[in-house]
Amino acid sequence: MNARLLVVEPFEERPAAASTAEALRLLGPAVALELHHEAPVAAAALRARHSDLVVLDHRLGDDLWSLLCRAREGATPALVIGEAGDEAHALRAFRAGATGYVERGPAFAENLSTAAREQLQWVQRIRGSIPSFVEEKNAGTLDRYSRNIIENMNSALLVINREGAISYANPTAERALGVGDGELEGRDLRDWFPGAEAEEILPLRTVKEGTRFRGVETVLTRADGTLIPTGISCAPLVDAEGVGEGAVAIFQDLVEIKQLQRQVLQTEKMASIGQLAAGVAHEINNPMGFIHANLSQLTEYLDDLQKVWAQVEGLRGAADRDPADAQQVREAARALGATIQAVDAGFLMRDFGTAIRESLEGSERIRAIVTDLRAFSHQDTAERALCDINRALDSTANIVWTMMKHSVVLTKQYEELAPMVGFPMQLKQVFMNLLVNAYQAIEERAAREELRGEIRLRTELQGEEVLITVTDNGVGMPKETLDRIFDPFFTTKEVGVGTGLGLSTSFNLIKNHGGTLRAQSEVGRGTSFEVRLPLGDPDELL
């Protein structure tokens, strides 16, 4: 075994019976020893040359810790020699980065050489597994590489020992949990999951059962008490013999991702509402158009009829005069007749009524749209609530239908349903997406062929689930499209028509409800979307 060892011990005029150097010579001539008595010189040597192992004596006092730190920096394994029975010192040495600890006492020389041999063998095992491109580099460099990677990676890394305490945390983990340099080491992992049961803390399950986890969402509590959503992955840590030593956990702060997700949801909601608003605006604009025009015409009618009325007054005045002047009465009657003809009073009287009737019909239509809007905005809450699925679907369909009633027949088949626990506004957003998609598919097909557009809505209770189907006879989709419709940003619509998020958002909203969203489609025949939602337990709301 070719290896370089750096031994540091304080100078003694009369060395102990079995000196460290002597004990290490048991390793054989292939192991080169470099002995130092002065800590600064040893530190310089550590920096200047590669060593496979450094052996440090506890009598170095505080120099021991600084040298351990140096060794750790250079990723050189460090064996510490301590007084027999001084467990506190041993523990401190390990925490400071010692890779091995040997007590003075009976069989010291043998123990030391065995420990050193093991450490060197370990170094060589690593060397044996170095890929060829770094083969020329030494193990220390490789160790430095991995240390660099671990310390600089953007994921937080924790090593948890068998007892569930943190034995190592990289700087990202310290930042994520809001603690200072080195403050995590030795802390109980449970401190970061206050109030959680042991089986809810995934790394502890890995320690106990050896279970692996990948990217599971879990909430950690920072030092300042704030909660952070994270995606955590855990793997068991085993020694050379395959015995469990604890677990390695890597986690990523999901706060930013969660924020982005919320923004995407909001964008999609705004896009759907924009579409809806445009449809509703058009349906209100038409009656507004003729009501407005009629009112200004009726003002003109009234002006003309007032002219007639003025002549009527004149005639009455002439007839009432005492004694009545027949000539004047005739004159007034002639003038009245002329005005009646000039303003076409007969038409005005008839059309006045028609214009009012038509305007009333228009205002009734606007009133109905507002009623639909009110029904749609009922339960506009972000909270969980008991939802009446039929009502949510129906009010959404009525609103969306205002924009498509000219080209689409809507058929509804609602089965009586039990109330369901869910987020009513989210469900309405999903229904709106499905209806708008159905409408667009119909429009697309209608542009190519004569078509009586049809959307069929159906709800039914299937055991503990509600099944909602929205079926259209629009263009339909080929399988390649169907496979991708729930992918975010996938769209077949022209730029500016869709966000490409409608169906992926719908998919996620339904998933959040513990339900499923599926689609079947046939080109030229139409598409059917199927939403399945669990009824949930109404007691959960209490």
Partner: protein, 123 residues
């Protein structure tokens, strides 16, 4: 005498809009023809000459812009007005392709409607 009146063809799927337009144009001295769709309008155009077309944009089946483009393709020189609630949403290129003489907003202003139609007929 009625043969000498300019003929205005009104196209809108909303019959109350047609009725309100006629009401407004009642004293303008036009012969007014009202139809409920682009298809009907094309049939009328095939049967008799008209002097002016006023068409709604958003109609089931063929939209106003597409209908007027078809009129343009047929080589017609009849001035045409597009009535729309969202005039700013119609691209200039489409307006030109359809040979549109004027755009009118919906709801319209009576005086503006009358003056637009008059200038279309004299210009």
């Amino acid at each position: 005498m009625s043969e000498t009146l300019p003929v205005v063809l009104l196209v809108d799927d909303e019959k109350h809009i047609l009725s309100a337009l006629s009401r407004c144009l009642r004293r303008e001295g036009y012969e007014i023809l009202s139809v409920g769709s682009a298809a009907e309008a094309l049939r009328v155009l095939g049967e008799r000459p008209v002097d002016l077309i006023v068409s709604d944009q958003k109609m089931p089946g063929t939209h106003g812009i597409a209908f007027l483009t078809e009129v343009e393709r047929g080589g017609s020189r009849v001035p045409r007005v597009l009535l729309t609630g969202w005039p700013e949403e119609i691209p200039q290129a489409e307006i030109e392709r359809a040979g549109i003489t004027a755009l009118l907003p919906k709801p319209w202003d009576d005086a503006e409607l009358k003056s637009t139609l008059r200038s279309c007929l004299t210009g």
